[in-house]
Symmetry: C2
Subunit: 214 residues, 2 copies
DNA sequence: ATTACTAGTCTTCGAGTAC
DNA sequence: TGTACTCGAAGACTAGTAA
């Protein structure tokens, strides 16, 4: 029994917002593991913030925590891409006006050279900042080949390693989704670079919806 | 990285029927584990019959085996029950004419007593045999409380332990889905018992479709 | 560059048991 | 009945390295 299977099992009984009264022995029986293991796994899920758990001498009641629901939703979206009827890999995001910071670091020569070599284009000096759904983002990125853009340091500051993914913007424009390598769990904000000024080309303003495909 | 996550990762890249050329290092990088672990897990999935794998000094190409696709489909259906829009727990099956065997063992006193006590009804002496989709069945059963009907032995033969699940037939009739306890992976055939003769009540003949809800 | 074996370490499991 | 602790055994992980 892996953690995620247990989470699904609980979600099916408790629902996304409800709760279920059960026992560690019952769970153990279902997965054919020991009562001790069921108990421990349950506590682990609680510690990980995925479920809410109240356990006592009369059994335990469990409900999904928001983080647990989000995790399952991400799994669901991944599988939907596999089984869903003709769903192409796609990610929608809303434009957020950036701080002009992107223009600066995209144009650093050390990055620039790698962009050219590894992505196949010289990016416009500016980035398109998009707000996306984290679950959708994870599902979208899963299965794409990450391209590693190495970081570097100057006397003043350090520039971290970047993960880049080749994408298409609005179904037409070659581009790349980029994000810091460091963050284990991606934020809900991503940046897109392309050979041209995407804002101009597609007449995009703040709040407008953009579609990335892969 | 658990096995199932890896399978999803591969499925997203290879598709259900295609294949993908990759390397253990790339997979390892994605899940942030060692190359060795990725290699071993891949071989495990192959040994388990979930993927087809050709590995060599120039990388490896992977495709989903039918069993792997089935496993993912089961997961997908489970999650669909959680996230799907208003999908109630439901299982469809096609009637298969039984051998009259059900009539015999359902009426064994030792079973009968437990059916009454644990299911809350005295079953009609006969079973309705249904052919179902294994993935749907697994997803349906996941989350239902199994009720254990103990087996017993006579001088002539032994009667195994039965797992029973309370269900509703055609949205109206109280009933129970029963299956042998033994089998780890359920067959695609189940039996249904109810207080009344389901065949008569719903005018069911071979091949007719029946809906169970829970 | 690959895959994958071996060996040592670390994690996870379940029986026994306390409460 | 429950949950959950300890601890010895079984399994999984990574580093080093062969091919």
């Amino acid at each position: 029994m892996d953690d995620e299977k247990l989470l699904v099992f609980l979600a099916l009984q408790a629902g996304l917002h409800g709760s279920v009264k059960t026992s560690t022995a019952r769970i153990a029986g279902h997965f054919r593991v020991s009562q001790q293991t069921a108990s421990r796994k349950l506590r682990n899920l609680k510690k990980a913030g995925l479920i809410r758990l109240f356990a006592g001498p009369s059994g335990c009641t469990v409900s999904l925590a928001p983080e647990g629901a989000r995790l399952l939703r991400a799994d669901f979206l991944s599988l939907k891409q596999v089984f869903g009827p003709g769903t192409k890999k796609m990610l929608r995001g809303k434009i957020k006006d950036g701080l002009g910071e992107g223009r600066y670091y995209v144009s650093r020569p050390y990055y620039l050279k790698q962009f050219k070599n590894l992505l196949g284009f010289k990016p416009f000096f500016g980035t398109l900042n998009l707000i996306v759904d984290i679950a959708e983002l994870n599902s979208f990125l899963l299965g794409l080949h990450p391209i590693k853009i190495e970081g570097f340091e100057t006397d003043e500051r350090s520039f971290g390693t970047i993960r880049a993914f080749k994408v298409t913007v609005q179904g037409k424009q070659q581009a790349a989704l980029i994000m810091p390598e460091r963050t284990a769990h991606p934020k809900n904000e991503i940046e897109v670079i392309a050979p041209t000024n995407l804002r101009k080309k597609f007449k995009l303003g703040q709040g407008r919806q953009v579609t990335l495909t892969a």
